[in-house]
Amino acid sequence: MNDIIFTGIVIAVKILVVLAVTLGLGAYLTWYERKFAGHLQARLGPTVVGPFGLLQPLADGLKLMTKAPLLPRGIDTKLYYMAIMMALVPAIMLFAVVPFGPSFKILGHEIKPIVANLNIAILYLFAMGSMAAYGTLFAGWASNSKYAFIGSLRKAALIVSYEVVLGFAALSVVLLAGSMNVFDIVDAQIKSGIWYIVYQPISFVLFLFCLLAESGRVPFDIQEAEAELVTGYNVEYGGMKFGIFPLAEWYLNVLALCAIMAVLYFGGWSGPHLFGPFSGFIWFLAKTFGLLFFVLWVHWTLPRYQAKDVVEFAWKYLLPISILNLVGTAFLIYFKG
């Protein structure tokens, strides 16, 4: 009986913690990116608002929230608002299958630092990833603007093509681990003592491309190519209604996928026990943010593909490569037992 209560409490606590952390983190990732980009470009980034501009996200948030609500003419109001939810919710729900560290014990109960320890975590990941497309589509359709419309169509095409590649890329790792459960995947890597990036460099690169594409980062940010479509699908959104989109797409999405990537290819929280009980968590965060750093670095360096090339790239090159990679992995596993 009180077991159930306890589990309930634990889950509630987990959800709250994850929500708080991710949303807060998402806000501060904007500061992180602005600083990073600034120094990459021989600038400073925010410095004036608070020490090192640390209060900048607060100011932005305040400003965005207190902007006057202004609805463009001729919009489809229901979809217009639904789009925001459809963009934000899947991005947050991605974190449900992110294991933040090794399991530990409290009052004799073993607790896994993950919201939902699904056996089909990877499938769930794909599902949520493709859900994100709807947010964009709705936004583009509802806001009655040509730029937004074109942008959303581009994004839809992009998501559709890259989901497939993402699937095959991740599946080859699943084959190696023999499970879709993130904990099992990490344990398998810890047991074998080798991270899967060693076995699966190709699938890692593919996954990276898909990450960039799904989260609308350069070189795949066709849906908000500023020079062509003013800001793409969210052109008609103002105030916090706008603020949600980059938060969800550029930051939460990227963060979650980076975490998953750390799990799939870099052995999650595996690493030498330098920091006592928390070393697992610290390793995990370190890997995640390392990957995030790399993503931003790419974003601020490369030019942008154009829409038709992006889709072509996915179907003509990435997909065959990923399939071959998967089949090859399968054969290897089959013959080497």
Binding site: A37, L40, Q41, A42, R43, K146, Y147, I150, V218, P219, D221, I222, A225, E226, A227, E228, L229, V230, W300, T301, L302, P303, R304, Y305, Q306, A307, K308, D309
Partner: protein, 586 residues
């Protein structure tokens, strides 16, 4: 540029009895008596005499004459570089169109209609070029006032909200010329393009991608553009009208604001054409200073092209790296001219100041590490597969297009045509420095990119040579030819020397009375050939000053090239043509 030689003119004379020819060291023209011959004459010139490079067409207004308007074509023979001006009088404000002979004439004639209200037989869409559709007047006619005709009360809203009714300043006018309503603008837009595809996308006028305020209408089939039209005039400020109302030296600051990315080059083109008209000798030091700053300005302008072009194609960081170098050049120009962007540095007959102390060291320091910066830009873009994908074989401009539309500058050179004023008629000190002209062969965006990158390198080399030459010169070398009667003497002389003071009084009050005559002279701007046709009737201000704008003609090829490409390609192509609105619209 060598003008058309005697024998060429005589050959033309022999084949057309009715034309009369005229030749002077700085000019060569044929004038066609019979208006209806003009088509044949142009055909003959293009096909037989190889004057196939269309440079400019413009109109002059003579209210007193019996036929009011005079049209002038400027053609170039691209094989032995001969330039020729063809004059023809309109017959009752009509002229047979030349757009079937030279495609570039299409826009030029539209502009002529917009500014003068002249008509062209056989030109189906003679529409307003710069003004909106139902604008009543024809601004460049002599009887139209510079300030326009005030029609509506348009007070300053800020003052109204403050609730004060007094005029905020002594030159504040309550009455204002007619400001079009949004309906007028929509009418203009509707009249331009008839929809054939799925949707018509308004790209601009206030859009981050369209360098300034250009306005493109894309008729889209999916992402592909099936037809397009460009609406100009969102920055039409009436430069040519202003020039007719100012003294020669007063118009100089305005040339900065035309092509605001290459101020010194524009000044140089203007100043040297006025000097040719009044035949003023320029001291050697001034020549070198002019060349050095013109080349610095060229680097400056190309850097902005690089930054914005890369930004349009998504490479966000190149923009800031390019601007880092721009800041240095800005420092150089600011230190000498006194202003960062619109530096009124040159003067008729020389330069405003001598070089400031330390300029040469700083310039050397800049050039030294500019080469390494160029390497960085190359490393970021040139071999990058995405960059190649976006630029290779996109927006190919053929040589025929170049001649037809009168494209100049890097756009022409990208297509392999070596048309560069600095070599053809060397104006400042370009005959004393050694540099070579990069040309591409395919004529796509990538070629234009390579050409501009190479030009930056060449300009840096020129700057180095100028620095050497200037270092050798004694410090008290004259930098302005103050002997000449129409040159304003430098400031310190005005205080100390009575004659100079009187002279400066005379010029400032009465203006330089340039002798009667006409001249067309051009310089090589970063965007192409910026030419000034000046028609002087011996007054203190030009009777007609025509600005042959390079961006205007370079842009005129855009609608043809962009067909069947995507929007993303349009961005790339526009970036590679690199127009400046201040110059397209004047």
């Amino acid at each position: 540029m060598p003008w058309a030689s005697e024998e060429t003119l005589n050959r033309i004379k022999r084949s057309f009895r009715t034309v009369d020819v005229y030749k002077s060291p700085h000019f060569a023209r044929i004038s066609v008596e019979n208006t209806h011959d003009i088509t044949n004459v142009l055909k003959h010139l293009k096909d037989v005499e190889d004057f196939r490079y269309f440079i400019d067409f413009h109109v002059i207004d003579f209210p007193k004459e019996k036929e009011r308007f005079l049209g002038q074509y400027i053609l170039v023979n691209p094989y032995n570089f001969e330039r020729l001006v063809v004059k023809v009088w309109f017959k009752s404000n009509k002229l047979p169109t030349a757009k079937n002979i030279f495609a570039g004439a299409k826009w030029a004639e539209r502009e002529a209609y917009d500014m003068f209200g002249v008509e062209f037989e056989g030109h189906e869409d003679v529409k307003r070029m710069f003004m909106w559709e139902d604008y009543k007047h024809f601004p460049l006619r002599k009887d139209f006032p510079l300030g326009g005709i005030p029609e509506q009360r348009l007070p300053s809203l800020t003052e109204l909200i403050e609730g004060n009714t007094l005029p905020p300043s002594h030159d504040y006018e309550l009455m204002h010329t007619y400001v079009p309503t949004i309906q007028d603008i929509e009418k203009t837009e509707k009249s331009r393009i008839t929809k054939r595809g799925q949707l018509v996308l308004n790209w601009g006028p206030l859009h981050p991608g369209t360098h300034g305020t250009m306005w493109f209408l894309f008729d889209l089939e999916g992402e592909h553009i099936i037809q397009t039209d460009v609406i100009l005039g969102q920055l039409h400020r009436g430069m040519e009208k202003i020039a007719e109302n100012l003294h020669y030296f007063q118009f100089l600051p305005y040339t900065d604001r035309m092509d605001y990315l290459s101020a010194v080059c524009s000044e140089l083109s203007y100043v040297q054409s006025v000097e040719k008209l009044a035949n003023i000798e320029v001291p050697l030091k001034a020549k070198y200073i002019r060349t050095m700053f013109a080349e610095l300005q060229r680097i400056n302008s190309h850097l902005l092209w690089l930054g914005t072009g890369a930004l349009d194609l998504g490479a966000l960081t190149v923009f800031l790296y390019a601007f880092r170098e721009r800041e240095k050049i800005m420092d150089l120009i600011e230190g000498n001219a006194g202003f960062r962007l619109t530096s009124a540095f040159l003067r008729i007959g020389g330069v405003h100041y001598d070089l400031a102390k330390g300029t040469l060291e700083v310039a050397k320091h800049f050039v030294k590490d500019f080469y390494s910066k160029l390497k960085e830009y190359n490393g970021l873009l040139t071999r990058n597969r995405i960059w190649l994908k976006r630029t290779k074989d996109v927006g190919i401009i053929t040589q025929e297009d170049v001649y037809q539309y009168g494209l100049t500058g890097p756009v022409a050179r990208g297509s392999g045509i070596s048309y560069d004023m600095r070599k053809i008629d060397p104006y400042a000190a370009y005959d004393l420095v050694d540099f070579d002209i990069p040309v591409g062969d395919v004529g796509d965006v990538y070629d234009r990119y390579l050409v501009r990158m190479e030009e930056m390198y060449q300009s840096a080399k020129i700057v180095e040579q100028c620095i050497e030459a200037l270092e050798k010169m004694p410090p008290n070398e004259p930098y302005v030819n103050k002997k000449h009667p129409v040159v304003i003497p430098p400031k310190e002389d005005v205080f100390n020397d009575l004659e100079d003071m009187v002279k400066s009084f005379r010029i400032v009050v009465h203006g330089e009375n340039i002798p009667k005559g006409e001249i067309y002279s051009s310089g090589e701007n970063p965007r192409g050939e910026l030419g000034f046709y000046i028609h002087s009737i011996g007054k203190s201000s030009p009777y007609r000053l025509r600005i042959r704008s390079c961006s205007f003609y370079n842009l005129s090829v855009f609608p043809k090239v962009i067909e069947k490409h995507t929007i993303s390609d349009a961005v790339a192509l526009l970036g590679s043509i690199d127009p400046v609105v201040g110059e397209t619209d004047r």
